[in-house]
Symmetry: C2
Subunit: 317 residues, 2 copies
Amino acid sequence: MVLVEKDFKDRIVGAQERIKPFAHKTPVLSSQTLNQISSTELYFKCENFQKVGAFKFRGACNAVMGLDDKAAEKGVATHSSGNHAQALALAAKMRNIPAYIVMPRNAPAVKKAAVLGYGAEVIECNPTLKDREETLEKVVERTNAHVVHPYNDERIISGQATTALELIKEVEDLDCLIAPVGGGGLLSGTALSANLFGRNIKVFGAEPEGASDAHKSFNEGHIVPSIQPNTIADGLLTSLGDKTFPIIESLVTDILLVNDDEIRSSMHLIWERMKIIVEPSAAVPLAAVLKNQHIFKNLKTGVILSGGNLDLKQWKF
Amino acid sequence: MVLVEKDFKDRIVGAQERIKPFAHKTPVLSSQTLNQISSTELYFKCENFQKVGAFKFRGACNAVMGLDDKAAEKGVATHSSGNHAQALALAAKMRNIPAYIVMPRNAPAVKKAAVLGYGAEVIECNPTLKDREETLEKVVERTNAHVVHPYNDERIISGQATTALELIKEVEDLDCLIAPVGGGGLLSGTALSANLFGRNIKVFGAEPEGASDAHKSFNEGHIVPSIQPNTIADGLLTSLGDKTFPIIESLVTDILLVNDDEIRSSMHLIWERMKIIVEPSAAVPLAAVLKNQHIFKNLKTGVILSGGNLDLKQWKF
């Protein structure tokens, strides 16, 4: 890992410089009530206040702004129905280049509207991974656009790593960091920043029981794909990639599982006590902290609130 | 007004010093999307992040911390079923003195629990103003506690005025300030701070159509009581008092009315776009800004988000 880490140190610092004019340096909030409830000292990094409402903008912005002019002029492309789609569309808009987003036909209208609102072209496909990938290939054949994967890409990992880097610089002497894990872009970036810029910070992943592929992969020592995941944390359904898994395997202390009731209850606590809106995926780390007081008791823990995008009209506690 | 204002300048600066160790200096947030929608430049002062989740803590804290030791040791008392009850209970707890809160028997259990959680004694009464006042009188006879009115009190007005004072110091050259109006503590304090510490800042009140007594009072030149108010903005049901009305009458430019649909829609915008939780009363000013673009267009407007307390389990957009 030594060489890889040296390489990532420069990449992450580079990403921080590159996205600075475009991304928010998000606030760190704390809550006395939540500290009492959890018997720990929690510092919440509020990526729900990031552009497009999620940390995903950091990685997408880093990838888009890092392209040379020749590659950039053909535009960027991806398949995504989530926050990465909006993130890539906005970053492309800021660079004034085209973005082509392949989205499943059954994606919520509100998500399509958001991507269209950032000026991207939406290409519909059938809701299978195979059709998403084939449709994306055709788009690239037609446009020569540059594909930006949502997580399995070193530029994305480095961009997401700036979240933890900011938190480490702002809150001194953190003992732990905890982030949700889906494809692993945020968690691997968090682990890299803790390792490269922090002092003895332990990093934990938090994952829903209904999509526990990262937990299995971590314990079995190889990537176990996510098959038919089922959880309210709809940002955490994907499998780890060959770029994110090795970093997580070597730098993360443990991956903690929580069920949907625990996620819902932590989400309610964050809304009610902190007066901020987070999406279910963002509440997974607090749920893991509350469930594992033997690990976190009396420690200074940084919690990454990954995003705040959900359809409020559909939500009911 | 000249003498009164001079007097208030010292009172407000004194309140700011007095509450500093206890109250949060709340953040000011802005949103590009809301600026675009409103065609104005909005600066939101986030009192939903204040202690007890509302600006009310400022006034209550100022009153409690300003008492001399002899008066303080008997404790403080009030009748309230809202944010003032929690605010007074917490301020008393911080000073380590008793608080006696008269609450109507039908007040939500969650509100009683919050007040009890701050260590106050809750005394139940029938849900009429008459019984609330009589019960409070009996409590005072028994305890000799010092009564702190929720708004019609210069210490409360001065405490609430620190909200606008902070906003004016943080955001230069504001053209307008807008605050919700119920009993008028926040609005009169806002008007005083704009007048005493700002330069040519126009102040507007925002009020629900279903509780338009302040609008009527302002236009008729005398206090018109609030009779059977009916609005989702449940923090704005009370009538102006003889301390708040004269300040509002002389220093406020206009009081703007909005209906419940407009309040609900602004509240949804704030939750969705800013990712923060505000209660219905706190969304009334944004609704008024959106309804009156002829007034606010292209101006730099400070909006006071008064609080974020509501029962999330009861709420549905």
